[in-house]
């Protein structure tokens, strides 16, 4: 019987400050044990528990794509005790890792379809994973048009800026980056994500939409998507809940009879409509 509570050791290989307020950093983690590294096989949408002995552990969506060689990426917003401790760590430091946990975006179902990705703030992480996954040369042909709508409060709070610039040049990827309020250098869209989604008006024909963001953004984006003709079965969301064990035992992350850690975090709007409004 494998002990599901024991983390495996991983080295921080790189720390990248993502945002100008220094509150969001991306950590590249390399699993030390070769065998454990090989068996850590995941798909976009899954998460892992990052553990710092003495500080505890917390769940984070995996921001890297399984198609990316090397380290696992986690983009972490500094909010509580564990994330503060993590932010204070440096390249070379060792953390613990438990995972991969949870379900993933329904890749098989998305094949041959047009994909619309709508995201706001630092919830973009697992959607970065999905976008990278789909754009990978081995996978690109499996999916049709890809549209990415991504917003942040200000230009300085956008994640993965270099990649966004590179994606902008990719063929077959429609990228729409927006900010709530621009600054002097900003030449892109200004407006909230739901508004920009309405402007971009991606077709719902043969399309799935995947939404990740703060609750307020989701609340106002869903009606826009429904108006565009996306049925609830083709609106996919990834949820956040307070979690501890990550494996469906400790009992805190349920919404109705579903555990976000085990049955989720990825749900369709159709599934969520069947669940109580308690998230």
């Amino acid at each position: 019987m494998k002990n599901p509570y024991i983390p495996i050791a991983a080295r921080i290989e790189k720390v990248l400050i993502e945002t100008e307020d220094n509150n969001i950093k991306t950590f590249d983690l390399g699993i030390l044990d070769k065998e454990a590294k090989e068996s850590f096989s995941y798909l976009p949408g899954q998460f892992a528990e990052i553990s710092i002995t003495g500080k505890g552990e917390a769940p984070f969506g995996i921001a890297s794509s399984p198609t990316e060689p090397g380290a696992l990426k986690f983009t972490v917003n500094r909010a509580g005790g564990l994330t503060t401790a993590l932010h204070n760590m440096e390249e070379g430091d060792i953390v613990g890792l438990r995972g991969p946990l949870g379900n993933y975006y329904p890749i098989e179902e998305l094949e041959g379809k047009n994909l619309v990705i709508v995201s706001g703030g630092f919830a973009f992480t697992t959607l970065r994973s999905l976008t990278k996954y789909m754009l990978h040369q081995d996978n690109r042909a499996r999916f049709n048009d890809i549209t990415v709508i991504y917003g942040a409060r200000s230009p300085g709070l956008l994640l993965y800026k270099d990649e966004l610039a590179a994606w902008d040049k990719e063929s077959g990827l429609g990228l729409h980056v927006t900010v709530d309020a621009g600054d002097e250098g900003w030449k892109g869209n200004v407006g909230f994500v739901p508004t920009i989604t309405k402007q971009v008006a991606p077709s719902s024909k043969d399309a799935y939409v995947i939404v990740c963001g703060p609750p307020i953004m989701i609340k106002f984006t869903i009606p826009v998507l429904e108006e565009l003709g996306f049925p609830p079965e083709r609106i996919i969301l990834s949820l956040e809940m307070r979690m501890k064990c990550g494996i469906g035992i400790c009992g805190r992350c349920n919404i109705g009879n579903k555990y976000v850690c085990k049955d989720g975090p990825v749900f369709t709007l159709a599934q969520l409509n069947e669940m109580p409004d308690e998230y």
Partner: protein
């Protein structure tokens, strides 16, 4: 499986002999309080009891349990994994409601995919000798929840007190194995069988059906947003008595404790009745008031667990009724819900 009897004298001799190879636990009085504790042959086991306040869950799922220990400051994850001792244990005098709790725990901690070795190792190494309830209490409602004063779920052997002897029902192979070479456990004669039936009947007659969980579930399937919840939680103080004393509540928190260069990751009981249970680091809380939290407790026991495991996560032991400081009675809550 087979029905046996054993004289009480022979049984307690047998139990005393078990202390050589097993840690034997039984209800005993310690500091004026009835508890399950490890006993030695000379200890006086309390037999005149309804149930212990704290049940047996903590022997399988302690309130505080180390998941692993670690050293700090080496610059790496210096973790010492726990070993799971194979100490063999016998628990005598477990009430069927508490054994039912273990039966339900088996579904939570033994869920395929992520088996919990801390619980499962203790469970595998423990033989549960339950003692049926010839005299249930007025707070008992096990019969309403697919159990009963002589129900067998979760036990390896079930004893019924026949006065000078015990009737012994063998429930599992583990139980059978324990009695393999015991010739003092004989086949029950007709009188004993009849006596047992009378005792069982008398106890069952005392327990009047009070709630109908199936009917309540039909309502719970639909009443998440019902205003009834505004009223039901009103007098609840939001403490953790009901959940901590409950033989089926299993929610826990995981945290690190450190002292000097060493530390440990532990899990401790947690309660859905506490606001911090679902509080996000961002400050958001999907269950912000007592209403949502009481609803979660009721829903989890009588709907969600049924949806997921086909069982009601309540064994009807009545502790939450007896010890609630404001007499918030789960039977009345269910009654109101099913009567809607």
């Amino acid at each position: 499986m087979e029905e046996k009897t054993v004289s009480k004298e022979d049984f307690f001799e047998f139990l005393a002999a078990l202390t050589k190879d097993y840690q034997v636990f039984a209800p005993v009085k310690r500091d004026d309080c009835l508890v399950f504790a490890q006993v030695q042959p000379e200890d006086e086991i309390c037999l005149d009891y309804h149930n212990t306040k704290r049940g047996v869950k903590e022997a399988f799922f302690p309130q505080r349990e180390q998941l692993f220990s670690f050293n700090l400051g080496n610059g790496d994850e210096d973790i010492t994994e726990p070993s799971f001792p194979d100490t063999k244990r016998v628990m005598f005098g477990v009430r069927p409601c508490d054994a039912k709790g273990l039966f339900l725990f088996d579904r939570v901690f033994g869920d395929k995919g992520y088996e919990d070795p801390y619980y499962l190792s203790k469970r595998a190494n423990t033989i549960v000798i339950a003692l049926g309830c010839s005299q249930p209490e007025s707070t008992c409602f096990c019969i309403d929840n697919k159990g009963g004063p002589f129900a067998t779920d979760g036990s390896d052997l079930l004893l019924v007190d026949l006065g000078d002897s015990y009737s012994v029902q063998v429930i599992t192979e583990k139980g059978e194995e324990l009695l393999k070479n015991e010739d003092k456990f004989r086949k029950a004669d007709q009188n004993q069988v009849r006596l047992k039936e009378e005792i069982v009947e008398k106890a069952r007659a005392f327990l009047k059906p009070s709630v109908n969980p199936e009917k309540a579930k039909e309502r719970l399937d639909k009443n998440f947003d019902d205003p009834i919840w505004d009223r039901l939680h009103e007098k609840c103080l939001g403490c953790g008595i009901c959940t901590f004393l409950c033989p089926t509540c299993h929610c826990f928190d995981i945290l690190d404790e450190t002292g000097g260069p060493k530390g440990e990751r532990i899990r401790i009981w947690d309660s859905c009745m506490f606001p911090q249970f679902t509080l996000h680091a961002s400050g958001a809380n999907p269950r912000p008031t007592g209403k949502e939290r009481l609803r979660q407790r009721v829903m989890h026991k009588f709907k969600y667990f049924v949806d997921n495991h086909g069982e009601i996560a309540c064994s009807g032991c009545g502790r939450c009724i007896r010890y609630c400081p404001v007499n918030l009675d789960i039977r009345e809550i269910l009654g109101e819900i099913q009567g809607q």
